[in-house]
Symmetry: C2
Subunit: 605 residues, 2 copies
C-alpha cells in the first residue's frame, strides 16, 4: 500500500479537483487537496475545512481568508515568514515549494539580470530590516499571467515606504491572492469572463490623449481623438456582442440595446462613463459598460431573450476634465444639458460646440435624448469602489446603500503674526492652532455618526516661519454623508465650531462654499437585487455608501437606481495609474450582474 500513496498525491497535483471531491474527502485527504495553497501553513486549511461543505470556490476562498483574518498576529507573522524571499537564495538553489517556484518563474524572476537581482536583493534586505518579514507579492499579478520584473521592483520600492501595520495587511492580501491563483489551478478554474473584462479594459486603455500617451499615461477627455477611438471601440464590441441596436447619441454617449422578448418591452438601463481624469486608472467608469456588455454577449451566445430589454450606455463625459460640465453624458439623459456649456472653452480655446460639431454630434438633437422613466425598469451601475473598504475586508464585491451628498468650503483663519520667542502663550492669536482645533473637531464629529466623512485636505500657513506665530492659516473642508440631512447637520456643527473657536481665540475667519451636491440613496428593492446576487455567489453580503459621485446620481432623479462596487487593489487607490482589479473579481462581478438579470427575468415572467 505504501507505494501507491506517492502516486495518488502526484495525481491530485496534476488532475483538477472538484468541489464535490473536496466536500466529500476525509479530513486528511481534504488537507492534502489543499496542500501548498497557504505556504507551509496547514493550520489555515485545517480550520477552514471545518466549514465544509463549500457551495463553490468563492465560498472556499472566503473561508480560508476568514481563518487568517481571525488569527492572532503571531500566527499572521508566522504565515508571512513562511514565505521565501522573492528572487532570493532559495529560488537560485531551487529549494522552493513547487507553487512558489512556478510563480516566480512565470514572472521571469528566475531570469533576472545580475543588476536586477542586486536591486531586488538590496530592496528585500531593506524591507526585511524595516518590517521583520520578507516582501510578499502575488507575482502572478491581477490577470494571473505574471508581473514584469520592472513592475515587481517598482512595487517593492513603493511598499518599502509604507507603515508597518498597513504593510502587514497588504502582505496578507497578497497571500490571499497567491492562494486564489493556486486554488484556481487546483480546481482547473479559469475566470474567462473576468479575463475578457480585464483584457477589454487593457485594450481600451491603449487610447489616450497624445501628450499623456507619450508618458505612458491614460487620459481620455471629452471628444478628443482618443475619446472618439474609445467610442468606436465600444460600438464595435457592442455589435460583436450581439446588441440589436448600437448608436452614438447627440452628446457622444455610446448606446447599445439588446431587446427583450418583445422589442418594445421596458428596459433595464445600465452603464457608466468611458472618459477619464488625467493620468487615470483603467477601470474607473469603464467596468460599468463592459460588465453588462459581456452579460449581453453571453445571452446572445445562448440566443436567450429576457422579458425586458437591456440598454447599456457608455457615458461620454462624467469627470468634467476638458470642460466644467461634470456628468454631461448621464445628465443629458435626464434633460439636464445646459446649453450655456456649449460656449465654454477648453484649455486651448476650443468651444464645446465646435468640439461637438467636429465629432459629428448634432447639438440640436440633445433635448430629444431625454429618457422617459416609464420606459425603464430602473438603473443599475457597476463601478470600482475607488476606496479602501472592500480591499481592507478582503471582499470582492459590495452593495451601495447611497451615493453621498457632499459640500465643500475653502477658508482662512486670520490671527496675528508675532514673534515665537517673545509672545506669551496667553496673548497669542495663532491662526494655525485655531485651524488645528477645527480639523480635530471635524474629524471627531464625522466619526461620531456612521457613514459621514469629513476631510481637511488643504492646510497651510502661507509663508510660515519657524520663529513666527502663524498669522494666517488656509484650509479646505469636504463633508459627505449618505443623506443630505446628515451632511448638513455635520456641516452646521463644523461651521458653528469654527465660529466658536475663532471667538474663543480672538481670531477671525473667512469661509466660502464652493460646492454642494445632493445625496442619492439606493432604491431598497434594487439594492436587495444586488444583495441577493452577491449572496448567491457564496460571498458575504456587505453594504457601504459611495463616497464619490457617479452617473447613477443623475438617473436617480428620474428612476430607481442601485450600484454594485467592485474591490480596488492597492488600498482602493483611484484617479491614479495604480488603480487595479483582478480578473477573478471581475468574473464575480459579471456573475453578480447575470444573477440580477435572472432575478428580474423571474419577477417579470
Amino acid at each position: 500500500m505504501m507505494s501507491t500513496l506517492p502516486l495518488t498525491l502526484t495525481l491530485t497535483l496534476t488532475l483538477t479537483l472538484t468541489m464535490n471531491e473536496l466536500n466529500a474527502a476525509s479530513p486528511q485527504q481534504a488537507l492534502a487537496h489543499l496542500d501548498g495553497v497557504y505556504e507551509h501553513s496547514t493550520w489555515i486549511a485545517e480550520a477552514a475545512l471545518l466549514q465544509r461543505p463549500f457551495k463553490n470556490l468563492a465560498h472556499l476562498k472566503r473561508a480560508l481568508v476568514d481563518v487568517v483574518r481571525g488569527a492572532r498576529i503571531e500566527q499572521q507573522l508566522q504565515l508571512l515568514r513562511a514565505h521565501p524571499e522573492l528572487a532570493g537564495k532559495a529560488l537560485l538553489a531551487k529549494s522552493l515549494t513547487a507553487e512558489s517556484s512556478n510563480e516566480q518563474s512565470l514572472s521571469g524572476l528566475t531570469h533576472c539580470s545580475a543588476d536586477e537581482l542586486a536591486v531586488i536583493q538590496k530592496l528585500n534586505a531593506a524591507y526585511n530590516a524595516k518590517f521583520g518579514w520578507p516582501f510578499l507579492l502575488a507575482v502572478r499579478g491581477p490577470r494571473g499571467l505574471g508581473m514584469t520584473r520592472g513592475e515587481i521592483i517598482a512595487t517593492l520600492q513603493r511598499r518599502l515606504a509604507g507603515h508597518p501595520d498597513f504593510e502587514l495587511a497588504e502582505c496578507l492580501r497578497n497571500i490571499h491572492r497567491i492562494a486564489e491563483i493556486r486554488l484556481n489551478d487546483k480546481f482547473g478554474v479559469v475566470p474567462t469572463l473576468g479575463n475578457t473584462v480585464w483584457d477589454w479594459c487593457e485594450s481600451l486603455a491603449q487610447h489616450s490623449d497624445p501628450e499623456y500617451k507619450a508618458n505612458g499615461q491614460l487620459t481620455v477627455t471629452y471628444l478628443t481623438q482618443a475619446h472618439r477611438a474609445c467610442s468606436d471601440q465600444l460600438g464595435f464590441w457592442m455589435r460583436e456582442c450581439g446588441f440589436d441596436e448600437v448608436s452614438v447619441d447627440a452628446v457622444g454617449n455610446v448606446v447599445g440595446v439588446y431587446f427583450g422578448q418583445d422589442s418594445r418591452a421596458r428596459r433595464l438601463l445600465t452603464g457608466s462613463h468611458f472618459d477619464t481624469v488625467r493620468n487615470a486608472g483603467k477601470y474607473d467608469g469603464r467596468l460599468g459598460i463592459l460588465v453588462p456588455m459581456l452579460c449581453v454577449r453571453e445571452l446572445k451566445a445562448q440566443d436567450k431573450r429576457l422579458p425586458f430589454g437591456i440598454e447599456v450606455v457608455g457615458f461620454s463625459e462624467e469627470e468634467g476634465q476638458r470642460y466644467k460640465a461634470t456628468f454631461l453624458g448621464s445628465g443629458a439623459l435626464i434633460g439636464q444639458f445646459d446649453s450655456a456649456w456649449l460656449d465654454q472653452q477648453d484649455a486651448i480655446g476650443v468651444t464645446m460646440r465646435s468640439a461637438m460639431l467636429q465629432a459629428g454630434l448634432k447639438v440640436d438633437d440633445i433635448a430629444a435624448i431625454t429618457r422617459h422613466a416609464a420606459n425603464y425598469l430602473g438603473f443599475v451601475e457597476v463601478h470600482i469602489e475607488q476606496g479602501p473598504v472592500l480591499n481592507a475586508l478582503d471582499l470582492p464585491l459590495g452593495v451601495v446603500t447611497s451615493i453621498n451628498g457632499s459640500v465643500r468650503y475653502v477658508g482662512e483663519v486670520i490671527g496675528m503674526a508675532s514673534h515665537a520667542g517673545t509672545t506669551p502663550m496667553s496673548t497669542r492669536r495663532d491662526a494655525a492652532t485655531a485651524v488645528a482645533e477645527l480639523a480635530l473637531f471635524m474629524e471627531r464629529r464625522a466619526a461620531s455618526v456612521p457613514e459621514v466623512v469629513a476631510t481637511m485636505g488643504m492646510l497651510s500657513v502661507p509663508g510660515g516661519s519657524m520663529n513666527v506665530v502663524p498669522g494666517k492659516c488656509q484650509f479646505s473642508l469636504d463633508i459627505r454623508a449618505t443623506t443630505n440631512a446628515a451632511r448638513d447637520e455635520c456641516a452646521a456643527d463644523v461651521l458653528a465650531e469654527l465660529q466658536a473657536i475663532c471667538g474663543r481665540r480672538g481670531v477671525s475667519f473667512t469661509l466660502e462654499q464652493t460646492m454642494s451636491a445632493a445625496a442619492a440613496p439606493s432604491n431598497p428593492t434594487w439594492q436587495a437585487h444586488w444583495e441577493r446576487a452577491v449572496a448567491a455567489l457564496g460571498l458575504p453580503v456587505f453594504t457601504l455608501p459611495s463616497g464619490a459621485g457617479h452617473d447613477a446620481m443623475k438617473l436617480h432623479e428620474v428612476m430607481p437606481q442601485a450600484m454594485l462596487f467592485m474591490r480596488g487593489g492597492n488600498s482602493g487607490v483611484s484617479h491614479n495609474p495604480l488603480e487595479t482589479i483582478t480578473a477573478d473579481d471581475a468574473q464575480l462581478c459579471v456573475e453578480a450582474f447575470q444573477h440580477l438579470l435572472n432575478q428580474l427575468a423571474t419577477e417579470l415572467q
Copy 2:
C-alpha cells in the same frame, strides 16, 4: 468771585503745573488741573486722584492708566466714543476740545487735500462700521512732533484689518499716549534725554545697505559700507559724549570707555549690536548702545567720575544676516570667534576674511580682544522687548529674568493619501490631523507652565487637494523656556506625544533638530539692580523672560548679566519697519540706567 474763576482756569491751562501743586490741590482743583487729559471723561482723573500723592509724573500717568485698565468694558467704549473723528466734521467746524484741535493741527490734519480728506473719511466710516467707535490714534506720534498725513492713512488702513478686541486695546493704548503728551504739556515736561535717544536712532537709520535704502528700508549687515558708516557715527558720538577711549576692535565692535575715578578701576560692561536684519526696525540693538552713551554724556557734562569705569560696546554683528555667524561681535569678547567663519562667503561670494581686510580689521588680533571677567563688575544690556508683553500691560519698562533657552525641529508626518469621499473615518491615516493633534498638545503643554513658549510656525500639507485625505504634513517646532530644564521637559513631552499620536493613528514621522541654545538666567543681584531702578521711577516692577536671543547670552558665559527691556509699540512687532518706541519711554530707560549707575556707585564707595 465768579469773575475770577475763568481767569484761574485760563492760568492753569497756560502756566505749567507742578506735581506738588497737584498733590496739594483740593479734589475739585486737582480735577480741574487734569481737565482734558482724557477726552470728556473726568471719571478717570477722579478715580486716579484718590491715589495722591504722586511721586512723579510717571506715577501719575500709571495711576490714570490703571483706572482705565480696571474699568468695565462699557466705560472703556464710552471713553473711545468720547473722541472726535480724525479730520472729521468736528475738526472742520472747529468744535473740538482745545487739546484735540491742537494735536490734529500739528499733524497737518487741518490742511488735508480734498483727496486725503476723502480717503481718511472713507476709511473712518469703514472703521466705525466695523468696530463701532471712531479710529483713535495719538497723532502727535512717538516723538510728539506729529505724524504725517501719509503715516496716519497707512496706520488707519492697517488697523482696519484688525480683530475687534485687539483694536479696542490698541485704541486705549493710543488714548494713554495722547494723555501722556497732554500731561507733558501741562507739566511743562520735555523728555530731552529720550528725544536725544530717539533722534540718534533716526540719524543712525539713515545708513542702510543701498538696495534696501532705495526702497526706504533699513538694512545694515556686517561690514558693508552702511555698517561702517554706523560704526563711524557711533565713534563720533562717543567722542562727543566725552568717552576717554574710543576704538574699533578687530571684529569691528565700536568700544567706548569712560574711566572711573581710577582709570584702572573695574568696569561695568554694557552695549548691544548695531547691525540689523533685512528691512529692520530702528531700535533693535541700537538702544542698548545709545542709552548708556547718553548716561556717560550726562556724567561727563557734570564732570562726574564713578568708582568704576563704563565700557560701552557697539557690537558689530548679532543677527547673522550676511554670514552665518550670529553673535559674532559679543562672541569674540568671550573668545568664541570661530576661525572657520573667515572662509564663509556672503551671497555674492565675498569671504568674511576679505570683508574684514577691506574694513581695515586685523584678523590676527581677534583672540586678543577676549575680555577677562576679573576686570568687570558685570554686563547689562538695554533692549527693545521685541514682544507684546509690556505694550499690552501699558508698562514702559520690564526687567528680564532669563534669556530663554530654545530648541527647534522640522518634521513630517507620513500617513496615506486617499479619497476624501470613499475612505471611512475609521480607516484613514490622515497626516494633517495627526499634526493638528500635536499642535494643540504643544500649545496646552507650553501654556501649562509659566514662561515656556512653543510654536508650530510652519504647517503645510504639500500639494494638498480638497478631496484627498492628507498623506503628508510638514511642520516645525520651536520651544523656548527660561531654563534649559523647562525647555527640555517640554520638548521631551512634545516628542513623546508625537510618537504616541503617530502610533495611535498608524502614521509615521521624521523629525530633525535644527537648533539648540542654552538659557541664560539673569544674575539675581543684577536683576535686583534693575528692579530697584524701575521702582525708583514710580513704575510698577514687572519681570519677564526674553524670548529672543541677545548679546547678553554670550557675556553670560563669563560674567553676571541682567537685561532691561523697553516697551515696543505696535504690539511689540520687531524685525519689521513698524517697530517703534516713544521718546518718553526712552527717557525712562535712560533714567533707569542712571539709577543703576548710582546704585553701583553707592555700593562701591
